[in-house]
Symmetry: C2
Subunit: 341 residues, 2 copies
DNA sequence: TTGAAAGCGGTACCAG
DNA sequence: CTGGTACCGCTTTCAA
């Protein structure tokens, strides 16, 4: 193996008969260096493909220009969009992004945090797992004066900025839309009761019903465990076969809505005429479904971009106390066929 | 801001009245250290939450336990699956993964490579952009004796291991399936002619036709530029309105197939009876389409996992010359309604 | 079994 | 404008 040794500052200094410090200053274009020397050094560096050893620089400056990003899942339209936005913002400011996936397991999340902390990232972006209750592993960052920004699913135990979609408000608008279309008996297939975005969407549902003076049957709010198509199918069946079936179903996610639609199709219940169906997340499938599914676009790219921008700003002002700044990225209601009574 | 200073080895040594080297050895459980000292140091370290400064360790050892991963796009089922597989394999071996996205732009790819190289990653996983022809920016890694593994889209100019899906073979099987189902005039909406997986899928198409002694019209092979639904629609229209319309369309991707299906639906051409449609990639939409789309599942997770495993192995044997080892992950044909004549 | 010290590749302070 | 030097935190060789 060739393994060319890299040219170092010392090499440059030796070859050019100057001191290491002069070489360093010349390359960094400090003031108080003659044009001549600068040119000499820069030319030499270029010619010999000098690449500063960033580990050494990081070591000296005690920062890495790297942020960590911890997400429950990578293969997921919303999360990958968030990642994309964060990568975009980070690149723009010359930061690198280390990504770790927890698979919704607390254990993996803790390991990832330890690893990032030991790895001296300058800050982290994190969306906590469904299992996460205690957050000491994240608090460790704050205790070291490192920036943390939470996105999507967050814990209120941490004093950190938070960036999310406006789940409550957009759920409210989604359900209001159903009401305006004439649906009156609206069910909501929700997620795990203790997960933040489930709670917010449920609250938006309640808010819309209350505002329009609509009642609901407590049986109309089943909770998914894994937010799958299968659960959507099963709960839609359960709802429609109950003694008091709804005339619309607001689903926590498009995949759940897909399952519900499949059940309705099988049961020969017409969508949107007999039952309206509303999804959430605007996955590609929602456009393709038949009838096409009304849903909510959450603009993950913007969430990720904003989260990274806030993090980098905090990273660059290390003397400021971390805040609770709360940012909601406005979602858009996308109206398609499944709610057009 | 609190900004607790981290405990260093020096602190431990001072407090315990031993030398820094002894403390280091005790923590790393070297031979030739008394049990007593080891216990003393380890207890102290634990009690005071000692975290080794990994920048310093990396600096000293001249490695980072970090690999870089450069992909054209993150928000993409196949690529995000590959990322997930790579993260999985890397975590297992204690490596971290830095991710960079090129948006299919050579310029971004070059920047990402420079940045990774300067950042002293131990190796990179890369899928080149559609624009990439010259690969000096990647060759730089090999020249430094750093491991490179290419996946999905690769350049043959680099002497590096390659991991991909078996595009040629699976395209061959997909088209063979169409032939077996009785389709005889099979068109293929291909991608950019110079992109590797387009070429392979096209070759698989040709192989299947040839083997079954079927002719094809040269007009039956249009090339998408962006591989979009819109192109699928437009090319399907062009094909079906031509003087010699096909009776089946093999599409380079599910999204192209979706566009094609939409055109066929609009033109009231029955799928699969009048025209068969075959996709590629097994996106979630293929299952949801009506009729459901036959397609090819490429097992991205396995591709990413394998690529990372090969990279890490190479990283750990830095004295070995890089090889051209070529690994194909076998894809699976998924037969649904759109090809059941 | 332990300690002293060199040094990884830069940065930045202090002198001149 | 330039050189000398200490040092960032840790590993590792050499000597005791």
């Amino acid at each position: 193996m060739t393994e060319k040794k890299r040219v170092t500052l010392k090499d440059i200094a030796r070859e050019l008969g100057i001191s290491v410090s002069t070489a360093s200053r010349a390359l960094n274009s400090y003031q108080g260096i003659s044009e001549e020397t600068i040119k000499l050094v820069k030319d030499y560096a270029e010619k010999h493909h000098y690449i500063p050893n960033s580990i050494a620089v990081n070591f000296r400056k005690n920062r890495t220009m790297t942020i960590g990003m911890i997400v429950p899942e990578v293969v997921h339209y919303y999360f990958s969009s968030i990642i994309s936005g964060a990568l975009h913002a980070a690149k723009k400011q010359g930061y690198r992004v280390l990504i770790s996936q927890t698979d919704e397991k607390l254990e993996n999340e803790i390991r990832a945090c330890h690893n990032m902390l030991a790895g001296n990232v300058d800050g982290i972006l994190i969306s906590i797992s469904n299992e996460t209750e205690e957050v000491d592993h994240i608090q460790d960052f704050l205790d070291e004066g490192k920036a943390v920004v939470q996105f999507d699913k967050y814990s209120e135990k941490l004093k950190s900025p938070i960036v999310t979609s406006d789940d409550l408000e957009s759920a409210y608008r989604a359900v209001t839309h159903l009401i305006e279309k004439g649906y009156r008996k609206i069910a909501h297939i929700n997620g795990l009761a203790n997960v933040r975005n489930s709670k917010d969407r449920l609250a938006g549902y309640h808010k819309a019903l209350k505002e329009h003076g609509l009642d609901f049957d407590p049986n109309w709010i089943p909770h998914c465990k894994d937010i799958t198509e299968e659960e959507g199918f099963a709960f839609a069946k359960q709802l429609m076969e109950s003694s008091n079936p709804p005339d619309a179903i607001f689903c926590i996610t498009d995949s759940v809505a897909l399952g519900a639609m499949n059940y309705l199709k099988q049961a020969k219940i017409k969508v949107p005429d007999e039952v309206g169906v509303m999804g959430f997340s605007n996955w590609k499938i929602s456009e393709v479904m038949n009838p096409s599914l009304s849903t909510v676009e959450q603009h993950g790219f913007e969430v990720g971009k904003m989260a990274a921008e806030i993090l980098l700003k905090a990273t660059q002002n290390p003397n400021e106390e971390s805040t609770n700044q709360f940012t909601e990225i406005k979602s858009d209601l996308i109206i398609r066929e499944s709610t057009q009574k």
